[in-house]
Amino acid sequence: MAEYPTHHREIVDGLLGGRFILHSDKLFDEIKEREDFYKSFFLQSFGYTLKITQQYAYVSSDESNETLSRDFSIFFAILCYELDKSGKNFLDELEYGYYEYSQIDSLFENSSYSELIATNNKLKDSNARKNLLNDMSRRNIIEKESDDTFTITPAYKVFTEFAEEIAKSRTKDNLQKQ
């Protein structure tokens, strides 16, 4: 009988639950050690792609939760924009920042993207944002430090890389037009 890693079930449950497994987690080392096995396991068993970076692992597929991913992306987009507007280095803030819920509320309530925020069910008010942050916490995109504070985990990079891709493709389009 094939021998599975010690925490195989936890790894599979976590990743299939849409969670990011972070490098600080002991499960991450097991995934890294058996990288080829797990990539093939998720592809053969479910048709999912396992993505592993130096800081996190997650699975993605065509059966993605488009709405939730869009809400997370809008959240990060507005957060970065507002942090930059207030004169902060937003990348440092994502990497090392320590956030209070009230600070997030203030950034969103004073944002010039007010129309977009008001029409998004996951961002429209403080309670909605709290639910969104709970979703992000469940997936290890943020880590709750207390009832009122949290930090952002390296999983944010999935979203900032997405933004980079948009910028590159738009710049390319623009150069082609010229």
Binding site: L16, S60, S64, S73, K85, I166, A167, T171
Partner: protein
Amino acid sequence: MRAEPKTILRFLFEYFEPLRDLLEAQTTDGLIRKEILKAVCESRSVSIQNQLMEYKILRSINEDFEFHSVYKNLIEFIISEFRPLLPETIEKYNSSIYKLFQKIRDDADGDKEILKQRITDLGSEIRTFAELVERNTIGLLKETRNIKANIEKVDYKEKIIRASRWIDEYIVPLNKILDANHSESVTNKLNDVGQFVNIKRLGLEDEQLRLQFEQLYQLVISTNDTLLKQSRILTTELLPLIDRIRTESIILTGWIEFLEKPEKYSTPPILKSAKVFAYSEDVFLNTKEFFEQFSKEETIFLDEAELPREKWIFNKKYYKSRLKESLPVTDFFSWCGQTLADEYGKTETHKFFELINLIFENDLDLTFGENTEAIKLKMDKTTIKFPKISIIKNG
């Protein structure tokens, strides 16, 4: 013959994309050249020139065309594409609002019909002004975000030139119009209007006029809120533009593009979490998390709810006569306790404290023994110490 309204609306719906292209052409060139109209129709494979004229969506200028302003405004409004206006275009409302206000104020006791019309006109001017300011801020935000995103990859010097032009020609003058600290600003004029209208809406006898002033007052209040919001955007986001474009980031460029039309992009594929069933292992953790949010412990004091008791009426005459029958009594408080215990099977505190009131009766002769040691009496719920008091005889 004029077309049916629904036919025109259906036409707008069906041919929205070519109309959008035509509006973009007009925004760039100031009008729609006939070659452009032809090219748009060909590229979209439509033949709509006749309807555009018949439904009065376009009007001809020599050989070229332009949108009727009502359709131009409608399409701009729907797609939120507002080209910023020069502040001179907006500033004219400063004088029109103030002139109407002065006439209303100076001629408030004149012809009522004229007064009503002026109030309506003033409301309309204020509304148009607020809409223009709002549209202008949206337009300015878009232009300045484009400079920040810098998709065109213009160099820093060129970016500064563009930003300075927006600031000097559009943002600073608009800020003056809105700045409440500036005596000539529209915001200040609106404050004057608000104060006057506030008095009138409460003090006039004519109900219809009072109602009109009330509506105008509510409009002024909501316009002030709108202007305050726009003014905040100007001071926090648009005026510091030069500072903000010093830094550039490919990530921010991407985010600005994304926020322009979030629905247009396929976002990172994050796995759907599996459906949670009541027997799933996650249920425990999810339920725990749900309950943990209510787990802030507070000290709770529980009062044992007492059963309602029948009110006991102290019959002073009866107990006094029983006391007199028992004289001499060597220990008054023990006598009270014993009397109640004999009668009710226990000594209840509230009855006890009623009964000891007998001690204040004038015709009883009280004496205190030499021994000062207190005696303990056990009640139903407590034990109380009392001094020893004797009653010898009738006074």
